[in-house]
C-alpha cells in the first residue's frame, strides 16, 4: 500500500509522518500531483489558519486536485475544515467536498476556546472501528463543523459538533489521531484498512 501525505504549509506534517512510522506504514510526503493521484491512500493533515492555507493550496493547484481524488482521502483537523464549503475563519471559501459551514466556537461559562484537550467521541454510522466508540481523542481547535448528514462521530463541547465526517471516498476527523495515543493510532488503522 502506498500512502501519501500531502506536503503543504501545515504544521503537523512531521507528526503525521512519525505516526505512520510507528504503524510501520510506507509513506511519502509530496506535493507532486501525479504521485498524489496514484497513491492508494491520501492524508491531508492540517494545523494553521484557513485563509492562508487555502491560498497556498490554490497557488499549487492542490485545491482542484484534492477534490477530484478517487481513492480514500483522510482530512485531519484543519484538513477536515478545509474540505467543507466555507469557513468563518477569515471569511474563507474552502474545497466544498462537504456542503457545510465551519463555525467559530463562542466561549460559554467554563467552556473555554480553544477546545483543547481530550474529549470522547460517539460514533454514528462510522468508518471508525466500533471499539473506539466513547474513546478519548486529543482536540485543539477554535472552529467546528456542525452535526450534519455526513457526520460519522459526534463530540460535545459548548454544543455537539462533528468529530468525524465521511462522504464517498472522503474521510475526516477534527481531532488529532496522530497525537491521541494508541486509540488515535487505531483511528488511523481504521482509515488505512478501508478497501478502495
Amino acid at each position: 500500500m502506498k500512502v501519501v501525505i500531502i506536503k503543504y504549509n501545515a504544521g503537523n506534517i512531521r507528526s503525521m509522518a512519525f505516526a505512520m512510522e510507528r504503524l510501520g506504514i510506507d509513506y511519502s510526503i509530496t506535493d507532486n500531483q501525479e504521485e498524489i493521484k496514484t497513491a492508494d491512500k491520501v492524508i491531508f493533515p492540517g494545523v494553521g489558519e484557513a485563509r492562508s492555507t487555502m491560498d497556498y493550496l490554490q497557488a499549487l493547484k492542490l485545491d482542484l486536485l484534492i477534490k477530484d481524488l478517487k481513492q480514500p482521502v483522510l482530512g485531519v483537523c484543519l484538513g477536515m475544515q478545509l474540505m467543507c464549503a466555507y469557513s468563518e475563519e477569515n471569511d474563507t471559501k474552502c474545497l466544498g467536498i462537504f456542503d457545510e459551514t465551519v463555525k467559530q466556537f463562542i466561549p460559554k461559562n467554563a467552556e473555554k476556546v480553544p477546545h483543547m484537550g481530550w474529549n470522547s467521541i460517539a460514533l454514528s454510522n462510522s468508518w471508525i472501528d466500533a471499539s473506539l466508540d466513547e474513546a478519548y481523542m486529543y482536540f485543539v481547535h477554535s472552529y467546528y463543523v456542525p452535526v450534519n448528514q455526513n457526520t460519522a462521530a459526534i463530540t460535545d463541547y459548548i454544543q455537539p459538533f462533528s468529530a468525524a465526517l465521511q462522504k464517498d471516498n472522503f474521510y475526516a476527523v477534527q481531532f488529532h489521531p496522530e497525537k491521541s495515543a494508541t486509540v488515535g493510532e487505531n483511528v488511523l488503522r481504521s482509515f488505512l484498512n478501508i478497501q478502495s
Partner: protein, 250 residues
C-alpha cells in the same frame, strides 16, 4: 466531556533529563524519550520539556531531542526554555513540537506573542508566567524566577490572552517546591478572568492537591515534576483517585 489534563514536566539539560528519576523500569534515568514513553503509557495527557540550560550551543541538541520525542511519543508535548524569536519557535515546530512555551522573552517583548500567534496559530503558543505574591500583588518574575518585573500576574495574563496566547502556564513561586498544594485562590481568579485554558504549576505534593486544583482552582490542567519522577504519586493511581471523585479524567 472535556477532561482535566495531568502533565508531567521534564527538565532537560544538554539532551538529558536532570533532577533525579526513581523508576526501576527505566534503564537510563537520564534518557528523556524513555521517561516520556513511560509517562505516555501510564496515561499522561500531555508532556512539557523545559530546556533549562537554553544556550545557543545547546539549542541544536534540544532541537534534535524534540525530533526524537516526536518520533516516539504519541501524545502532545510542549517545549520551552530560551525561546525568544519566531525563528526559534519555527525550528521547534519543524522538529515536531505541538506547542512552545515562552516566558522571559514575552515579558521583554510582548509583541512576540502576537507574532507567534499569527505565524503558527494561538494553539501553538503557551505563555508561561512565574509569579510571586509579595504583600498583595502577584509580581511576575523572569529568568527562572530570579528577576522581578513591573508586571502583575492578572493584568499580564489578560494581555497575553488578548495578544493571542492559546494557553497560560502559571507557576506560583510561593508554592513551587513546597509540596503543600497549588495556589488555589490565584488560580481560581485567573480561571474566572480568562477565556483560554490555564495550566496550574507549583506545589503538588499529594493526590488531594490535584482534586483541589481542579475543583477549587478551576484549572484546566495541572503540571508537576518531582512527585511523578520519584514515584511518590504514580500517574495511574492519581487518575483513578480523581475519577473515583467524579472529576472528568481520561
Amino acid at each position: 466531556m472535556l477532561t482535566k489534563r495531568i502533565i508531567p514536566c521534564l527538565d532537560i539539560k544538554e539532551g538529558r533529563t536532570v533532577k533525579g528519576i526513581n523508576f526501576e523500569s527505566i534503564r537510563d534515568a537520564g534518557d528523556p524519550v524513555e521517561l516520556a514513553s513511560l509517562y505516555a503509557q501510564q496515561g499522561a495527557d500531555e508532556l512539557v520539556f523545559l530546556d533549562i540550560a537554553a544556550t545557543n550551543e545547546n539549542r541544536k541538541t534540544f532541537s534534535s531531542l524534540v525530533r526524537e520525542i516526536a518520533r516516539y511519543i504519541n501524545i502532545p508535548f510542549t517545549v520551552g526554555g530560551g525561546i525568544s524569536s519566531v525563528e526559534d519557535a519555527s525550528a521547534l515546530l519543524e522538529a515536531g513540537a505541538d506547542k512552545v512555551s515562552i516566558n522571559s522573552a514575552a515579558v521583554r517583548n510582548p509583541k512576540l506573542i502576537d507574532e507567534m500567534a499569527k505565524a503558527f496559530g494561538s494553539q501553538f503558543v503557551v505563555v508561561a508566567i512565574d509569579a510571586k505574591k509579595v504583600d498583595n500583588p502577584w509580581i511576575v518574575h523572569t529568568h527562572g524566577g530570579k528577576k522581578p518585573t513591573d508586571k502583575k500576574l492578572f493584568s499580564w495574563a489578560e494581555e497575553a490572552q488578548q495578544r493571542g496566547a492559546g494557553e497560560i502556564l502559571f507557576t506560583s513561586m510561593n508554592h513551587d517546591g513546597t509540596k503543600n498544594g497549588f495556589a488555589i485562590d490565584a488560580l481560581s481568579k485567573l480561571n474566572q478572568l480568562l477565556s483560554i485554558p490555564v495550566i496550574a504549576s507549583g506545589g503538588a505534593g499529594n493526590m488531594g492537591h490535584f482534586m483541589d486544583v481542579f475543583l477549587l482552582g478551576k484549572a484546566d490542567a495541572a503540571l508537576a515534576a518531582s512527585i511523578f519522577h520519584f514515584g511518590e504519586v504514580p500517574l495511574p493511581d492519581l487518575k483513578k483517585y480523581l475519577k473515583d471523585r467524579n472529576i472528568s479524567i481520561r
